[in-house]
Symmetry: D3
């Protein structure tokens, strides 16, 4: 692994994240909003509070968090036709928005937000790998701002972020860009809370297989990356002294 540095197309070390920048409050109307640039991947996230829940949940006094994910047609290298012209969302987008929704629901005590739905919209303006982990990481920031307009951050049970890891040309690497993702032997997405517990874990041998040892190595890389991502979220949120502690408290299942 000595010369793995040379393997990455953008010159990064195997355990190095791409440059990140977050622009919070980009939308005048939304209860929370963030433009997250993560390398060449750009995701536009908003949180919207709606004063009702889906029909199957009505009258139970509890809230809901729902996510939607989409890509602009020219987010990709070649233009991709819009889903609406085929009359239905494509399988990949559907799978991703379900993942985002599950991940962010884990961050909230749904009993403390009343009968409200918080919609998290993640629209990819430009895609260079890692759009689903960028969506989760960015949507968390919007979610916190949306909670501030309702119940306050006490309804938070954890700080949640996500990162990708994988095996490319036989080497485990952190935060794959599109060029790496396309040829990776293994591709994992790791969603964690800031106490180091898993929210969601998905590993895929892209047409191949991976051993337990390889998997363990990738999880170690994910840990490194997530530490930086949690810090980025805290900075983006510009946390006040009184709010900071909540991001270390993780109490849901313990």
């Amino acid at each position: 692994m000595a010369n793995s540095l040379e393997l990455r197309p953008d010159g990064r070390r195997y355990d190095e994240l791409r440059p990140l920048s977050a622009d919070r409050g980009i939308n005048r109307y939304a209860e929370g909003s963030l433009l997250l640039k993560w390398g060449n991947t750009v995701v536009h996230c908003t949180a919207s509070v709606e004063d009702r829940v889906p029909p199957f949940m009505r009258g139970q006094g509890t809230g809901w968090v729902s996510a939607e994910y989409s890509m602009l047609p020219r987010a990709t290298h070649e233009r991709t036709p819009r889903d609406v012209n085929k009359g239905r969302i494509n399988g990949r987008s559907s799978e991703i928005q379900r993942l985002i929704g599950r991940s962010l629901r884990a961050a909230v005590d749904l009993n403390r937000i009343g009968e409200r739905t918080i919609w998290l919209d993640c629209d990819v303006l430009q895609a260079d790998g890692g759009t689903r982990t960028a969506s989760i990481t960015g949507a968390f920031v919007c979610l916190v701002d949306a909670l501030r307009t309702i119940s306050g951050v006490d309804a938070l049970v954890a700080q949640v972020a996500a990162v990708s890891v994988g095996k490319v040309n036989g080497v485990s690497v952190l935060d794959l860009c599109y060029e790496e993702d396309r040829t990776a032997e293994v591709d994992c997405n790791v969603v964690m809370n800031s106490r180091g517990e898993f929210v969601e874990l998905q590993g895929t041998g892209e047409g191949g297989f991976f051993s337990r040892a390889e998997f363990d190595e990738m999880l170690r890389l994910a840990d490194t990356g997530l530490t930086a991502l949690f810090e980025l979220q805290r900075q983006a949120l510009d946390l006040s002294a009184s709010e900071k502690p909540i991001f270390t408290r993780v109490s849901k299942n313990t």
Copy 2:
């Protein structure tokens, strides 16, 4: 009309455009791209070149320009559900993207771009009135950049931009924001070329009527606004000395 100044919610004069800024080249992959901020309206435009034309045009040696228009769910004050979840594009979006397409096709000599389609994607990130005129005005800039990658700007036959005018509380005004648009008695969208000729003209008495005199007054306001918009486009394009003349040449029907 003396005190019409006071009527506008954002303190503008009746003949004043909102502040505009244009950020060109925001997308690494697209052949042309522009982020246009027009007051609180924000439109993300890209141009994509595809090396084929729709089936009904194949084999004729001529090209095509097609536009698509959409709004992010939280572009609006209240979140609007995505069209894809209903399985079809809504009537308003369909009408607007047809208008954008017609307007920009008028700017190009389709015989000079080969059997290619130039896709113009206009995605509204934030909506505060005038999204269709912002889309046309912004898409023109992307179109020019896309032409540069194919045939050069000689395929251009005109510089095209658009602005809204209307009658609000009995006063003719330029460039309506959402709050004005919502209560306007008349709403017009004017698409022109830089020689002062019409490309497209749509006037709607929103449940009421308007006289010929009122219409003439609105067209005069549109003229004022478009002069500034043509200049904005030229600045955004950062025209070289040799390219500038083409924007004064308008030869298609003359």
Copy 3:
């Protein structure tokens, strides 16, 4: 323009309408119905009264007017597949039915018809140009009959009709047939009330441009045509002496 007569495919003068005939009451069930033959264009219009309004309008004590437009598959020279087989209405039809709806809503004081929807269905049995203006002109007659079954004609605020004008081979002409429409440089649809005010105005340079002078000339032709169309509507309605005056009263925005 001296020899413009010779230019029209059916021998008409440049300012001459095609022959019109209207057959009212063709449908036993509908509250209003009309078969309008306008040259070779044939439109079947009905008005249907429904005792409820769309969800977003409920409980406000006001009514609604909604239009739908469609063409039979063989209304056109070549058979056109039905929209239903593609699962959605096509963009052109959607645009047209929105225009018809807006135009006819302007004719009615929605506060005077109770919480009812008046549906205006315009189905083109044969298409030879001008189907949208025929739909508006015909639907107005059905609307009046539908109002008679509810509130009486007092809910009318204007008599509304529509005509097309355009520029064909460099000459401004009234009421384009399909052969003219297909090659026109400019195509305008003008919706007016019987006091000479505009309801809706749409001008399109079909891939080209038009000057203010050309536009003014076309509006003069539209005026000529609309005078005849308003008279046709009055005859079709077989107005009683007591009802006639309402068609000169236009009070909505004055």
Copy 4:
């Protein structure tokens, strides 16, 4: 059954058809067209010739006949929303157009029309019972005219028409109107050729049952009605002396 006369809402005898009139050639463009008024039921039929067959039939040198059936929204007593707004054809229309297609394919030797599709469009302008039998009976006339533009009538193998019979209030009746159809205990549709052979036969006990004897009685009534319908078709077609014989020849399966 002596007083069955009194049972029918429009004063007809139990074995009497409603008044029929057929207006042929109503469409300038279609290869065949007919407006069939059958009591208060009005069906607009066209035949369109398309120079290709569906993909699964290509290259076999044989043709195809396909039917489509639809109702205008206000063909019915209460307005029925258009199928296109739900994104799919309703089950009843789908079932009817399949019946029309099968019935008319039986009338043609598909090997003698080349690789062409003849589309039969049946659009119900007003519905008062018997719309599917009117569609079949009317479409046959259009089909003959379409064949004349291709291969000549030699490709015909039979004259085909259809009629409904049923049991209403315990009495067998011919040609049910809507008021009868709605309360009928049995409803049968009989498609025959002019030699008295069946093309298609559908009997439905509407929530109940019917005996063999009742069925036989209804078939006798159908026979009576079809004799008149075959004559109506011949008159509508204005058959020349040389063409008449083909309508007595029925050779396909014998």
Copy 5:
């Protein structure tokens, strides 16, 4: 017809059913369930009781019976793509499920089951002809079991089953397999009750014609087959002595 035996691909006599076996109670959750093997045709039927009726029936104190029919993709010789991927049910399936629904509604007194819907799901696991008649025959057994969980079998008004008959190579045969169905000149589906009355009757000359005499002969064959099918249903239901009489009582329309 002496040597018609030799004509059938599986060696059956012209009046012989294929081997049948019924496995009742295959589903732990459904109120009624049956796996019916009929030659190589295999249909999986369930009955589900839902405590509400469709919107248009609410508040009338009466129930509803609704059927749905589908085929697994590889029920057929070649794999057939799933309907859901085209966004709508195909015409054939729609037609069949409407037939199943009508046939089974005739078996029940809807006034005696309360405001409930009984859903009959017929899913074809393997198709070798006669899937619609197998669905009806099998769904009846499920329906009886579902009624036992509600109102008891008193709500039954008849025992209903179905069989196909047809003319193949000029010979009338009972219970067509796919190989016969595909080349049949006539194809009839006969739905009857156990007193010998018709519920539904559909005869189709597959591109040809059939005489009254041929039709009568086919009905005689259907009678033979249905006697055996009624017995099969009774055995599958394992009727207790007290329940048996209800299957001979048929009182709805008499």
Copy 6:
């Protein structure tokens, strides 16, 4: 964990699979088929060979494996409406069929099956938890049989099976039934090959979190279960002596 035995609703030990039975060759037409009963979960799997690949893969000489997953309406405790009636596949099914497809593609060397698609259809007849792992495990058997009809089993690169593990009431358990799944704190699906390498790994904290230690414990349980599942597959396939070795060879990425 001493008394974890008592926690399971069906009396199983925490590391015990439910009873399994596999019925191979249930479909006369499919190239491979299996009915897999796994506790009360019943999945009907088929493999179908189609002599073409999706458009984007044509001309590359390589094959494809595609999976589709669906549930019969009454597979569940309460009846679930069919997807086709909503016009699109639901998100959960879409996600599952993508997982099945990826898992089984890993088992095959796509370069050795020619330009063919192997369709794996997994239809759930009854659902009691673990339907996706049953689908993968069952589809593998069908896939082997399908390969035998093409290229022989040499195109296999691994034996693949799947099992679920989770944490229920604080205890890690193998093979969750629906009652456990519904209340589980963690739910993991593990897809492995018979050499102990991962194909796909998905862990979800159902609204909560899980530690690394808990995850490791669940993976150990998965290992136990998969050993039995690989043996079940071999028995179902009734492997000949010459074929057995291939199931120990796993060579793709090594």
